[in-house]
């Protein structure tokens, strides 16, 4: 599967969270690496899988259906979103 990056899901994430997340700072729950979401690795199929570029830990999974959006963030130690 072709690897993309966080830029490719900017619209999906902004649609969910109401603001741009590509500049939010994510901390990997596996290796502790800090990166902006735009720099994270993304794989897209029926859903979205976001991985740490350093240790490949799954940081986020997103599945959208007409009924609901399902978000799994258990691999993401923290996500810092600037105010404003």
């Amino acid at each position: 599967m072709t690897r993309l990056d966080g830029n490719s899901i900017a619209g999906v994430l902004e649609g969910i969270f109401g603001r741009d997340l590509t500049v939010a700072l994510g901390v990997c729950g596996g290796c502790g690496a800090e990166r902006q979401v735009g720099a994270l690795h993304v794989y897209r199929a029926a859903g979205i899988v976001v991985r740490c570029p350093d240790c490949h830990m799954v940081l986020m999974r997103v599945v959208e259906t007409p009924q609901r959006t399902w978000i799994d963030l258990q691999g993401m130690a923290s996500l810092q979103i600037a105010a404003g």
Partner: protein
């Protein structure tokens, strides 16, 4: 009041095609009129949504090619097995409408400002589109920040914005454009005719000592090879921003 905070929520807008520009045999620019458009930053993209008569929807992302000072324009490359791009490249005529949401993304973005950090842009194929928005923004704001575009294309005919790039580079305001042709260089070509490898970057890219801001855009394999090589050459990883288009 809870729930009423206005975050400028991303909504689907209706874009009307104002003008089309054929860039190459495979690439076309659509200049758009988008009521409600909030204005964009150089490097941002939009999501385009097409809806078939039976309700089937297809969504794709396209970079905004125009400067923030100008109306939004998308430059689209036709992918032969694509669901959306053949329509946008071959079929759309002025007056046609489709849905889009945006502008989107604040990561792969360059704002002309007082800081004098040089700009290094590295494009693979249609990855030049968001980088062109940055160069147009640079020109429209009168910025003299030193800028270099390293642009890899298959052949001369595949170069998008060729005339405009050559015109911009001829202005003598510290913009350099370096082409490399990976399939067939034009007759008599004495420049680069290979992939953007380590040696090419060492020779043609702004050196890390000048601490450039770096933007790399193109197919995934291109972007990752270039970004890795730039870091090996001494560019700080945090200065190298990438946007992957996916398959080549």
């Amino acid at each position: 009041m809870a729930g009423t905070a206005v975050l400028g929520r991303l909504t689907w807008l209706v874009a009307e095609v104002a003008e089309t520009v054929t860039e190459t045999p495979h690439v076309r620019t659509l200049v758009l009129d988008v009521p409600g458009w909030a204005g964009h930053r150089a490097g941002q993209h939009v999501d385009v949504r097409l809806t078939a008569e039976d309700g089937y929807q297809a969504e794709r992302s396209y970079s905004v090619a125009s400067a923030p000072e100008d109306p939004p324009a998308l430059t689209v490359e036709r992918l032969e097995d694509g669901e959306v791009s053949p329509y946008l490249v071959d079929d759309v005529v002025p007056g046609d409408r489709f849905e889009l949401r945006g502008p989107i993304g604040g990561y792969f973005v360059w704002d002309a400002d007082a800081r004098e950090d040089p700009l290094l842009l590295v494009a693979g194929g249609s990855g030049v589109v968001p980088l062109m928005a940055m160069l147009r923004h640079r020109q429209r704001t009168g910025s003299n920040v030193p800028a270099r575009l390293v642009y890899s294309a298959r052949t001369l005919d595949d170069v998008i914005y060729r005339n405009e790039l050559d015109t911009l580079a001829a202005r003598g305001d510290a913009l350099e454009v370096v082409y490399t042709f990976t399939r067939e260089p034009p007759p008599g070509w004495t420049g680069y005719a290979r992939r953007v490898d380590m040696d090419l970057l060492r020779e043609a890219a702004v050196p890390p000592q000048e601490n450039p801001r770096v933007f790399v855009c193109g197919p995934t394999s291109f972007v990752e090879a270039v970004a890795d090589n730039l870091v090996v050459l001494g560019h700080r990883p945090g200065r190298v921003r990438t946007e992957r288009f996916g398959g080549s």
